[in-house]
Symmetry: C2
């Protein structure tokens, strides 16, 4: 049985729950008390020295980092070969958005931590970084329905949660109509599941 | 012919040059005037809206992001199947360090930009972030010669340049003896090439 060290309000953990649901996989979820920083305790830094969740276990394989877990899950369990197709160009294109989802989009995650958990981070800088990447994503999505390949991939999932929850960090998505349409498209995927802050499609 | 939009002093561009040399590939290198921010001009933001280098072209395939370019190169051209082996566990394990190399290790890149190009960034915060990830890498390398799989992968290359050039950003690597040994190991790989700031092995 796959085990996921999980926190319901974490967009990074949600990436794994969303992909697993899309692949028809079940897991044992272990709730981590993120608010009280249980992920920074020795119990968890032994599993992931970076002190972050999600942490993932499948038999003897233990992985940290939402993007790494998605690469593993897609390669191992995606019989449709859709989420991370097995060819160089597809993998390279998707990797661009794995980097963006774990990188620039995390500005929006940081802004959300300031707003909902009072993290002492530079909100103005986080907003600027988030708006910069959202402008790029919005322009990119003007001509396409999905970030790459014309269909959903783990690149979309990597960028989705903290974009969809940007308003919780005080970021207005109304200047980005193509992002708003893409969010609705993700919500209408057959394997979609909601989380607090990301309700099902209207 | 592969085309690389390149800057000699960029550790991110160097990742691509190092992997290509290891794979026996040649490219046309186009020098970008990074110091005068040519990568932020419209000529280059048309190629990569993120305004960053490297940018890579191989026929009709254009990619941004050093990690994405390495995934493409390894999958497409690595006949040894060593640098990014074709199985779920290997890819997941390597992806962890692609994320780290494009993420936490970039604290050391930022510190270097402060020191050599006077970028207005928070040096103290960058040093703290770099030392945090270097401690984790040093502990990880205490029991292994390479970051994953017991042999060099694109995970190693992703983390190598800005770690090896940490002193240019004012970061002392002497508390991290396992990292220092790993740097020497990379320098002795058959395909190794130096760059300014990363001289060949003594």
């Amino acid at each position: 049985m796959i085990k996921l060290y999980d926190f319901e309000l974490s967009g990074s953990c949600y990436k794994i729950r969303l992909l697993m649901n899309s692949l028809g996989l079940e897991c044992e979820a272990v709730n981590v008390d993120f608010v009280n920083k249980e992920h920074k305790t020795e119990k968890y830094t032994r599993l992931n020295p970076f002190g972050e969740i999600p942490i993932f276990e499948d038999g003897h394989v233990r992985l940290r980092d939402a993007q790494a877990i998605m690469v593993y899950l897609a390669r191992k369990y995606d019989k449709s070969n859709q989420w991370y197709p097995d060819d160089a160009e597809a993998m390279g294109r998707i990797q661009q958005w794995l980097s963006t989802g774990g990188g620039e989009v995390m500005n929006a995650a940081g802004a959300r931590l300031v707003k909902i958990l009072n993290y002492p981070l530079d909100l103005e800088k986080l907003h600027a970084g988030a708006n910069r990447v959202f402008k790029i994503m919005d322009d990119h999505l003007a001509e396409r329905d999905w970030l790459e390949l014309g269909h959903p991939t783990i690149g979309d999932i990597a960028c989705f949660p903290y974009t969809a929850m940007a308003s919780e960090g005080g970021i207005d998505l109304s200047p980005y109509p193509n992002i708003l349409k893409w969010i609705e498209r993700v919500k209408r995927l057959p394997g979609f599941i909601p989380m607090p802050g990301i309700p099902a499609a209207a």
